[in-house]
């Protein structure tokens, strides 16, 4: 039953014989309300009846139905949700049925905190058996919005507490096929690689993950996420990263591509500042970019890091102050 059903088929509570014993309780906004709200009639009536059963602490099937109606009208009202939980516990309701209700209202309210929290509460009670269904549910949410933060928190919680890690890495791949720029999927990949009990951890996975990330970078070098992922694989040690010839090579290739090279250059800069010694190919690629822009003439090898900063100030002007500051952190030997 969604809010449209409620409107069409709705019989006012005052006409429902099963509610004839209840005196509805109006919203108390105090004697001089700060802000005066004009409420819609059916909402008023439903909430007035809700208040009556809430204050009487009536935990019955009819009050359970009432919370369903109230939620359908306004799923953000957390007090209704909390009372619903008390009723569900008291009546010992089959929580699989409750999950069905959740499935119905979730599609219209994908970012509602109360709905996600209620779902978590149910899943906790159902335990390990709920894992698969919960992962399926978040998958459906992601088909509408692959970056829904609540859904990702829920999915991570399910994996950590209920298990079911087997297909997670390949699910990340699916999401990347839809959108290689999905930062949530990149975060999830890191989560899986570092926390999955089935994969062996970061040290084991590092090599293959570098290969994977390089492919993603080549597909779209301006995509921020794989560059961060790459740094994550080496715990932000840029020098060790660049000492991997595959990484140096992809930076070179991106630079030679002539565009979308800010992230590549930034990584090279980090490494240079930490005494990384670039090979001729990479040096040549940097020089090629430098000379393609209208920048101060300079031929000295020892000023490579400084020249990288000049490039970045020019091609990423919105962060000019940041790149300017980076120049000041270049140790004199690296200049």
């Amino acid at each position: 039953m969604d809010s449209e059903d409620v409107k069409e088929n709705r019989v006012p509570f005052s006409n429902r014989s099963e509610w004839s014993d209840i005196k509805p309780v109006p919203q108390d906004d105090g004697p001089n309300p700060v802000v005066v709200i004009d409420y819609k009639d059916e909402f008023v009536e439903t909430m007035d009846y809700f208040r009556a059963v809430y204050m009487a602490d009536e935990r019955t099937p009819r009050s359970l139905d009432l919370t369903r109606e109230a939620i359908s009208l306004n799923p953000g009202n957390y007090t209704v949700w909390q009372f619903r939980r008390l009723i569900l516990e008291h009546l010992n309701v089959n929580l699989h049925e409750e999950l069905q209700f959740m499935d119905q209202i979730a599609t219209k309210n994908p970012k509602n905190y109360q709905i996600w929290h209620h779902r978590r509460w149910i899943a906790e009670k159902l335990g390990v058996g709920a894992a698969h269904k919960e992962l399926e549910f978040t998958r459906r949410v992601f088909s509408q919005d692959a970056k829904n933060y609540h859904a990702w928190s829920h999915r991570q919680w399910v994996l950590l507490n209920l298990g079911c890690w087997e297909d997670e890495l390949s699910y990340c791949d699916e999401l990347f096929n839809d959108d290689i720029c999905n930062n949530s999927a990149w975060n999830q990949r890191f989560f899986v690689v570092t926390k999955s009990p089935l994969l062996g951890g970061l040290d084991v996975m590092r090599d293959s993950e570098i290969m994977f990330t390089i492919k993603a970078i080549l597909a779209k070098p301006g995509n921020e996420s794989p560059w961060r992922y790459l740094r994550g694989l080496y715990q932000n040690d840029a020098k060790s990263l660049l000492n991997d010839p595959r990484v140096a090579s992809v930076c070179t290739e991106v630079l030679l591509g002539g565009s979308q090279y800010v992230h590549a250059l930034n990584l090279v800069l980090d490494a240079l500042i930490h005494q990384f010694q670039p090979g001729e190919d990479l040096k040549g690629a940097i020089e090629a970019v430098y000379s393609s822009l209208d920048l101060p003439d300079s031929t000295s090898d020892s000023e490579l890091a400084k020249r990288v900063c000049f490039i970045l100030e020019k091609v990423d002007p919105i962060r000019a102050s940041y790149w300017h500051w980076r120049k000041t952190t270049i140790p004199s030997q690296a200049l």
């Binding site: 001089n32 004009d38 957390y78 961060r228 932000n236």
Partner: protein, 313 residues
């Protein structure tokens, strides 16, 4: 260059919930305390707080308090830290914190700390770094931080730090500007900012600025005015505000105004609401836009209000 339509925004906030048959107003009923904080803090920043009857507000707020000591979003609602912080903040605006049974409120908040140092939002147990910030900010404003285990709270927050320097809502959660604000704010208030890699985080935050000058909350997402607060206040707390292009951000926020009817929206030409009006104006205050009271980036209250709490005897 646009201009901030201060008069229009004041009118908008004062009239916001008087619209007839507006379902948006109706569904906000349970979180009106948050709405009061957004609206009233905005009015204070633009120098128009006296347009509101403080006695009415204060007496309404106190009716939102539950016997547990916590506050609900409105009269008759269950307590939650979200509304408890808003209650404390609004009372602070009106210099009426002394009306509170501080011990009682502090005990409610402290009871929500878990063994690992994290905080639940209420007795139902949802854990989120937002609640760590809320608990710490609330207790600090009440001078009751010693009611919780601060070291454990800090330890939990740091466990939510990601390799990119940002923070998520739980350990392993994607770095998100809103969560970052909460974690950085909590660390600032408890004096633990030195535990951050400010350069790394500062860079992540500066990358939130997109071509049009607005800020997003995560890589590859659209800019939204509310990130003018979450990202900006974080940058200020770690002394890296100069890493973004300030004039461009000012222009973005000004472009999000409804210049006819008042109010600010998430991005240009969208519908306005009180939430984005507050964050847009608070963001402009952080950017030192002329005519606005300065706002404290950690407590999210005007600086004079914070000084009144911490500097007077």
């Amino acid at each position: 260059m646009g201009e901030l339509e201060v008069e229009k925004h004041a009118k908008y906030i004062l009239a916001v919930e008087k619209k007839k048959d507006d379902f948006q107003s109706v569904v906000m009923e349970h979180l009106r305390l948050n709405g009061a904080y957004w609206g009233l803090t905005t009015l204070d920043i633009i120098g128009k707080l006296d347009a509101v009857n403080s006695d009415d507000v204060v007496s309404w707020i106190m009716q939102c308090q539950d016997e547990s000591g916590g506050f609900g979003g409105n009269i008759g609602h269950d307590p939650h830290v979200l509304y408890t912080l808003s209650a404390i903040q609004v009372l602070a605006l009106f210099n009426k914190l002394d009306i509170l049974d501080t011990e009682k409120v502090a005990n409610y908040i402290a009871s929500l700390q878990a063994d690992d140092g994290s905080f639940a939002g209420d007795i139902w147990g949802e854990i989120d770094t937002r609640f760590s910030y809320i608990a710490i900010c609330s207790l600090a404003l009440l001078h009751q931080l010693d009611k919780i285990n601060v070291e454990k709270a800090v330890k939990y927050i740091l466990s939510c730090q990601n390799v990119d320097g940002g923070f998520g809502c739980i350990p392993g959660g994607e770095s998100h500007a809103g969560q970052i604000f909460c974690c950085v704010g909590a660390l600032a208030i408890t004096g633990h900012l030195h535990l951050l890699d400010k350069d790394l985080l500062g860079w992540w935050l500066s990358e939130r600025q997109v071509k049009c000058g607005g800020l997003n909350g995560r890589p590859e997402k659209l800019p939204d005015v509310c990130y003018s607060w979450w990202v900006l206040s974080s940058l200020i707390m770690i002394d890296r505000i100069h890493w973004i292009d300030k004039p461009k951000l000012v222009q973005f926020i000004l472009d999000c105004q409804d210049k006819e009817n008042g109010g600010i929206s998430d991005r240009p030409d969208d519908a306005v609401d009180v939430y984005h009006t507050y964050f847009g104006i608070a963001g402009l205050s952080l950017l030192e836009y002329p005519g606005l009271k300065p706002i404290d980036p950690a407590y999210a209250l005007p600086v004079d209000v914070v000084n009144r709490i911490f500097l007077s005897s």
